[in-house]
Symmetry: C2
Subunit: 163 residues, 2 copies
């Protein structure tokens, strides 16, 4: 890409300023943040990776409960799961590159292997990832719980606790 | 979103498998990774944030040099810049949510304030972010240098050093 993306972002910022956009209330922020989550096909999962570097990976946005919980399916044998056992601090990020909205959730991850959690995210054909089916020991569910959120859009940039 | 995204990902994986897709060579991986960088409007910057949590923020994809260097503009006064002075480990992530391609670059960030670097990312109208213009002390340039990359697409998942 090039400076074109910068120019387009500037135009969007100028438009917001021109409209005299005011900052959103917390209620409006939560509403917009939830809408962003609902419309997102993927989200980004941040974990503390090898050597203390922050790692990022795109995950399918399959299931969430408000802004508090997000569930992901993953391979038990993956290096990331091994690292999460030692350090479960994580973040989940949603972004719309066209409207310049972003939501960062900060929290921790629990690794689940019980059958109810596994069924929660299972769908027909998922054997392509987990050949032994829903009980495949290499199939784990990550349950992310947010403690804090930051949402920005236009002139609004708000950090708030998730209860 | 819902299980629909999962179903769509499974269909894509089945198609790859059906086509008998072979793994890409390292040369092909680098080629595809560069194409992904070039077509991306935004990328995700991962840093070590408050309390040891991995933070993620979308950044405009304005300038890069191969897979080795990526430049970003930012506010000198931002909390992230203050934290980067203490811990400059970072990652930059590119993703195409339609083709399920992803590229993770792992490296470090240098905070630049020299006028050449500042001019490199400047464009008309950027005063909306930095009112004092290109010499605004609140305008800094982040230069990311990658040491390692991970690229995945279809059946390929390759980690390699960036020299």
């Amino acid at each position: 890409m090039s400076k074109e993306v910068l120019k387009s972002a500037i135009q969007s910022a100028q438009k917001n300023k021109g409209k005299g956009n005011t900052k959103l209330t917390k209620k409006e922020v939560i509403q917009q943040a939830l809408e962003l989550v609902e419309k997102s096909k993927i989200c980004l999962l941040g974990t503390n990776g090898e050597g203390g570097f922050p790692y990022i990976k795109a995950m399918l946005n399959v299931k969430n409960e408000g802004l508090k919980n997000v569930w992901f399916s993953t391979n038990t044998s993956s290096r990331r799961v091994q690292r999460l056992k030692q350090d479960n601090r994580a973040s989940v990020y949603y972004v719309d590159e066209n409207t310049y909205q972003g939501l960062l959730l900060i929290g921790t991850i629990e690794i689940l292997q019980d059958i109810e959690s596994k069924k929660l995210l299972w769908t027909e054909g998922a054997e392509i990832y987990y050949p032994l089916g829903v009980t495949d020991p290499d199939y784990s569910v990550l349950c992310f719980t947010a403690k804090k959120a930051n949402y920005y859009h236009g002139l609004t940039n708000l950090t708030f606790k998730i209860e």
